[in-house]
């Protein structure tokens, strides 16, 4: 039967089945983004004119560095607390562990707006944090916590810690249990096993998690918009302003390109590094 023989000529069938998705991604994602990026190099003022113009602006350069800084701090904080939490979760007994994992998933499913909004309520002038501080007499006047870099970072950490915890629990589970037992049997105290065996084996996974959080915070819009406003403009909010408010399409495309190039470079660098130092390929 010809249909059976066609089925066995698997290459062709494979391509046929992936064709719609492939075409969709290429035609509706790669091409449009490629066009945006390419467009920035076709400025009549010169090939790199938009970029030169970008970095000539003190304000725009500040925005870039602010975004990098916020992303870095968010990543570090999420990494530290995420790892500690993941460690505890991975050692939890069966039913508690499942519960903890579901509890970590839930915030992820509530969406960025809800989560950023929660901090709006908490950190506002009449927010619950200020109310508590006033009530306890720690301050005499409400603190201006919103629209500061701190507020944005808190919101971002809140956004990404669940992701970090879930990804790191997976990493820790992947470390073979008998390797840790071997370490213990050879005389390594629990601390020694942690530093000499567990941590080194978790590092590739930690890198992956860190990159996820970094790129996520680097390109985030809703959280910095709500909690940082115009005082804490980041790349994403700047992009939106340029495109929808100023209708500066070249400017917006430039920002988009910078964002994309930095993000993709970091992801590529990560997969390269992680693959090189990944020892769990036994």
């Amino acid at each position: 039967m010809t249909s059976r023989r066609f089925w066995r000529r698997s290459g062709a069938t494979g391509w046929a089945l992936t064709a719609p998705a492939t075409l969709a991604v290429i035609g509706l994602l790669i091409v449009p983004i490629g066009a945006v990026i390419a467009g920035t190099f076709m400025d009549p003022r010169g090939v790199f004119a938009p970029y030169i113009s970008y970095f000539n602006s003190g304000f725009r350069t500040t925005v870039l560095f602010r975004t990098l800084q916020i992303s870095a701090l968010t990543t570090i904080i999420s990494l530290i607390f995420g790892f500690m939490t993941a460690y505890v979760v991975s050692r939890a007994p069966g039913r508690l562990k499942s519960l903890l994992i579901v509890a970590a998933v839930f915030p992820l499913l509530t969406g960025v707006v809800v989560r950023a909004f929660a901090w709006l309520i908490i950190l506002g002038r009449n927010g619950i944090l200020n109310q508590t501080l006033l009530a306890l007499g720690i301050v005499n006047e409400p603190l201006e916590m919103l629209y500061t870099q701190g507020a944005v970072i808190v919101g971002m950490v809140y956004l990404f810690v669940p992701l970090m915890v879930l990804s790191l629990v997976g990493v820790l589970e992947n470390i073979p249990k008998d390797v840790l037992q071997a370490s213990s049997s050879l005389g390594a105290s629990p601390m020694a096993t942690f530093w000499q065996v567990l941590l080194p084996l978790a590092v590739p996974g930690l890198i992956v998690g860190a990159v996820l959080v970094f790129t996520g915070s680097f390109t985030a819009y809703a959280t910095p918009q709500l909690l940082g406003g115009e005082r804490q403009t980041v790349l994403a909010t700047l992009l939106q302003q340029r495109a929808m408010v100023s209708f500066d399409w070249v400017g917006a495309s430039t920002i988009a390109t910078i964002m994309t190039v930095i993000t993709i470079s970091i992801v590529l660098a990560m997969s390269h590094i992680a693959r090189r130092i990944n020892p769990i390929a036994t």
Partner: protein, 263 residues
């Protein structure tokens, strides 16, 4: 292991982290129920009026419908093109190039906001595609990686020799796919559906640029509303969004149980 229990300090920190994660959500729910005209927590008086207010505002009514439509259609299309792709990636792993799998994950690697902007520029402005369609395209591609990943994971533990056995017993290949393969990855399909639906429902960055007269998604509308009115309506809409998310999960859990979380 005797030395398996983590240090008490770590347990305390982990507990605090979980508290940190859960409390703000509780606060949003509380604020939504407050009987005041301004946002406050703890709620002063309990009232559902701010929930009623959501439906009083036409912008919210419209965008809820739009969001649900986009989420449903986007997920549907993603499943339509994603399931065959995931199947092919697993079944013909040897014949297909490795980078193909990465291709389908690309929407996650690329900044969402850049993607949304690019669609605005090429489709809407460049090709005059209606906003709703552009929004749909954006969301379909946005959730595609989740669909492909989850179904792929499901298929990775699928024993393809079942399929070969069926074909050898005379079942036509296409029929075999629908009667043998698909039912066995039902869990994956349902998990993919939930994940995709919820992702689409909550998305901001892709939808940001793809709004037009009468077309907007709920999260975008909330953002706009917050800028103008700082009243509990936003809190109640947020709670509504949360509720929709939980509802979708619960409906599916009824049919399936939380087995999909073990991926």
């Amino acid at each position: 292991m005797m030395s398996d229990r983590p240090h008490p300090i770590l347990v305390v920190i982990a507990a605090l982290v979980y508290l940190f994660l859960m409390v703000p959500l509780v606060i949003v729910v509380g604020a939504a129920l407050s009987d005041t005209t301004y946002l406050t927590f703890p709620p002063q008086g309990l009232s559902l009026r701010w929930f009623e207010n959501i439906f009083a505002i036409s912008a919210f009514r419209r965008t809820i419908v739009t969001s649900l439509q986009i989420a449903f259609l986007g997920t549907l299309f993603a499943l339509l093109i994603g399931i065959p792709a995931a199947y092919a990636l697993n079944r013909f792993r040897v014949e297909l190039p490795k980078w193909l799998g990465t291709l389908f994950v690309l929407p996650i690697l690329v900044p969402e906001i850049v993607f949304g902007f690019a669609l605005l520029k090429s489709l809407t402005v460049g090709a005059g595609v209606p906003i709703f369609l552009a929004l749909l395209v954006g969301h379909t591609l946005l959730v595609l990686p989740y669909v492909v990943r989850v179904i792929s994971a499901s298929l990775a533990s699928f024993d393809f020799s079942i399929e070969e056995a069926a074909i050898s017993l005379g079942s036509a290949p296409v029929k075999t796919f629908f009667t043998i393969v698909l039912p066995n990855v039902r869990a994956g399909v349902i998990a993919a559906f939930i994940l995709a639906f919820i992702t689409s429902l909550n998305d901001v960055s892709v939808s940001l640029f793809l709004t037009g007269p009468g077309i907007s998604t709920l999260p975008i509308q909330i953002l706009a509303h917050v800028e103008q009115f700082f009243d509990p309506t936003v809190a109640s809409v947020s709670v509504l969004l949360m509720f929709l998310t939980v509802a979708v999960m619960a409906i599916v859990e009824r049919t399936l149980g939380l087995t999909f979380l073990a991926k």
